[in-house]
Symmetry: D2
Subunit: 337 residues, 4 copies
């Protein structure tokens, strides 16, 4: 392997640009050598900013480029499976934004392809790299709270996505809750049963598109622990991202992050800062850390901290949630696959 | 009605003594005129402390006493229905600790008796009188958070009751969660559907007694809002009593109360005080407030703030929870009654 | 001594009524047997509420009453010295609101009189009985933060007193800061030097009356520790009562108390409750505890937890503060007496 | 001016390296073109990491280099005046770590030199760029708390510097408190009087070197507001950096920053995270922001947000503090210069 990992980036939208800048400015062990995007103007603008030589409209120019060692897949969800598969076949290591695909069979095909090619595949579960959640996991593992008995994930977005996006996203469970399913597994291990109660409360157009925007998910873990996830597409006070783990010897929980810590009091009350607005602010450090981890794993030949198999398990839980909602009953995860 | 409300107390155990002292020392509008308890020594000791003239082993001496205007029923649960019924028949107003009875048919009979007698019946849902929860209810009603969408009740006891008590208590849902069911109704109104996931994690003897000690309850309200209750019989850090209500325009939540507010920091961390140990400390003010409210309602001929019908509804939800656990499915509240 | 301590109360104003009710309703070991107040109507109203038989316009009817064992002095400051002295001469134990007097020589005379009479004298430094400050003192004494190095007292009233009161009060240091001087001694021991920087910022009429309303006081303790007190007569957000003690091994601090713990967040911010409004709310429990302590000390023949000598020391510090302000220099406490 | 500002860095120690990396990785509008340090190995290592072409042992090679447009002075304090003066004479804009010099006359000479040369001079008061303190200043200026009446700065280091450093540092007021003096001016404007009470409590060797390690400073502002600074060289719980500003309409304060937000509770207490260890962690973002601001000011021909005159004023306050300590009296700032 060359001194610096040569990375090609597929997709120069918001998250593609974030990862590209991380690699260019903050990861000396890697360099961005090519950017592909059907939106050629976006690709060229980003390449210009970062001093990247090559851009193309077609991602295949990157997956076919023998100079490229690793590919970051930041294109639209419906292209993930194809890009990852082709990159893997060409022997490139792959970082792919979640989800690998909305269809379980296609995900299985992607995993088989990367396995055959013996390349690394890391899935973009950025929250695993957040210092709060990483600390909670480490402390549970260290026995600080004894046996975990109850998990609670609060995961509320500040505002819903456009309805057009809702229509192609696979629905809230595959698009939004999938991060919480991964967090549940990250902290407490495998889930055996899923039950969902959900509603369309925020925007009737979301309901008209066949989706929900407010949900409570109950999890039963293989360990016997129980968990809840509580989701909303609209928390007017900002992005609400909290975890609480209750165990036989204690409890661990985090708080939302705020832009500053300034509190004011006057005759009308005590006022503190709102949480950081949304994921780009809240998880800025985590996005950086996941890309660093990917580069480190590829260069050091280690297993990525969020594998393709992790991506698959979270998808299975999301599918179980959809089935539970449709059939109005608890669903065994083994029913899904 | 005489100047001071003449109250007889049935049951001089822990909670009976608390209410008796409240009446004697802090409610000038009432006086305790008689105390009944099969444990004569306990009754006499309490009567001595408070300067109460009459004690008896048989509660019927109180319900039959024409001098008594109101009866506080603080005896063991299995006696509640009989005492309330006899007191009502004798025209006395009644304050009864929860639950009225573990059996829905008997509760209906009790309610019918009090209705026929046109006496007041207040049920001991003390948490309604806690300043935090009362404030949350008031602020929801005032529209502060718009339409409620998600309710979360955290209700964890510091330690489980003796197994002998578990055996006669009707189980965790009727004994402990029933307070949370009432709180859910108090804050967000009627519940239409209940789903339970529960486990025996704290003490195997509780499981051997046929009960659970760790549970997640999902509620669907008539309004369309969703809710969760999360229970444990053992929170090693103390009595954990929190509510969070999330709505279209904001969120409201409380914190646990602590004996003092002193925080210490040293080289090992920042340490704050634990929550008050258990209900006798946490709800001391609420116990006083509910008795004041009862006296006020009787004297002012007003509807009690927690009626017999409220007691019945909470019991129905607890029965629905038991059925959901037994049948492993969401249960419509209308299936119960 | 009789079974119940027979107490006479001189002064039936706000604080006198608070102490009288405490004795009547919450201290079974004592009873109020007489109330004196030149305002006969106030005395009779309070006596009526509490079932006290005797009232008088002249406090001497109480100090001369052989039936009375202890006297609570809650009259105006200018009468304290006379009442305490006469009560002591008549062999009564005395609880006196602070200050004993504004004049040091008169205070010395009072102390001599109570000493000669061998009666107990407790001064109304109610804050010593607050659970937060008592806990901080206990923990310092237990070595939790090593050697104290810096003390910080935040003591801000919600609003200034009437200017008429300011004129007779002896000024902010004798009226308000005196509590903080006592707190400083309570926590860290004797003070050797006082420096004051102060201003008239809140109300020009206070300045016109020759007083200040905003101040910073610097203390040097005999132990070598340093301290600051920061005072304002107008904290628009409520009564601000905080202490922080910094030591070689850590730090201890408390927070303000609030009527409830409910926090709300909406699109404009996170809002929490304001501190309890003023001393009657903030120190309600402390007022009760100090009276209980007084009764206990008299009945048990123990030294009161806030003696006449403590009252004198706090007065000395207040005088030093006045001198520092007048002479614009640090003042040795030994210069005062 | 060229497209990218060409910067030379004098001093490749800890803070020099931080600024160099900021310029290299995070400020595309600038580039590091030369690094000077008598410690040639350190200079070369840093230059190698950042791809900087030129290094030298003698800073004069940088100040004399016509290619260099701006100089960052990160060398030892005793060299600041010479480097800044020579750089200014050569027409370079200068960013200088605080203090410009320990001697007021030399500072005046430096200021005269930069003024004559019409170059920008920014002094390294990094805390002005912290989001908390910047927000507090903005909100005071916006009238949120009315007229400021009391300022409180808590500024405690986690551990003292080596005694060798203490000997050459000019003492705590010039080395450490100088940041707090600048913060006081930044928030509330000019100071007219300074009073100090200080002690040697942490390490006797600091006292032997003629310095103090624990101090309380009282400030009187031109506006009439009062302020305190409380310093310690050893806060065992970490770097304590808090500000509170109390005004006629409210109060503003910040909290310490922590590495994560995770709280744990068990049977022994509730434990939260300690503050970030020291200035390199606490002010990492502020260091970056001050360098960005410097580059922006030079390129945009704007006045720096912390000028040489600001550096001088803070030094004057530090000198007044030393004088107050020596003479044991309040010192008018006008006595110093």
């Amino acid at each position: 392997m060359a001194d610096r990992l040569r990375v090609g980036i597929v997709g120069s939208g918001r998250i593609g640009a974030v990862h590209a800048r991380t690699l260019a400015y903050r990861v000396p062990e890697a360099e961005v050598v090519a950017i592909a995007d059907p939106n050629q103007e976006a690709a060229r603008r980003l390449a210009g900013e970062l001093g990247v030589r090559r851009t193309s409209a077609d991602y295949r120019e990157i997956t076919a480029d023998s100079h490229v060692e690793a590919v970051l897949v930041c294109s639209s969800t419906d292209t993930h499976a194809s890009v990852v598969t082709e990159a893997a076949k060409a022997g490139k290591h792959v970082f792919c934004e979640k989800p690998l695909d909305l269809d379980l069979a296609r995900v299985d095909a992607v995993l088989a392809a990367t396995e055959r090619a013996r390349v690394k595949l890391q899935v973009g579960f950025n929250r695993r790299f957040d210092p709060d959640f990483a600390s909670i996991r480490r402390r549970i593992a260290g026995g600080e709270i004894g046996a975990p008995e109850l998990l609670r994930i609060t995961s509320r977005d500040p505002r819903p996505p456009p309805v057009e996006y809702v229509r192609v996203s696979g629905g809230m469970f595959l698009d939004m809750t999938i991060h919480d399913f991964d967090m549940a597994r990250f902290l407490l291990g495998e889930v055996e049963e899923v039950y969902v109660s959900a509603a369309n409360r925020v925007d009737p157009r979301i309901g008209a598109a066949g989706d929900v925007d407010t949900a409570v998910v109950v999890l039963r873990f293989a360990s016997g622990a129980l968990g809840t996830i509580d989701n909303s597409r609209r928390a007017v006070y900002g992005y609400d991202q909290r975890v609480e783990v209750f165990g036989s010897k204690g409890v661990l929980f985090n708080a939302n992050r705020t832009p500053d810590t300034v509190v004011a009091a006057d005759s009308t009350g005590v006022r503190g800062p709102l949480p950081l607005d949304f994921f780009m602010q809240r998880y800025a450090d985590a996005y950086e850390a996941e890309i660093r981890a990917f580069v480190r794993c590829v260069r050091g030949d280690e297993t990525p901290p969020a594998t393709g198999a992790d991506g698959r398990r979270a998808l299975v839980l999301a599918c179980a949630a959809k089935k539970s909602l449709a059939e109005h009953r608890p669903v065994e995860v083994s029913e899904i696959g």
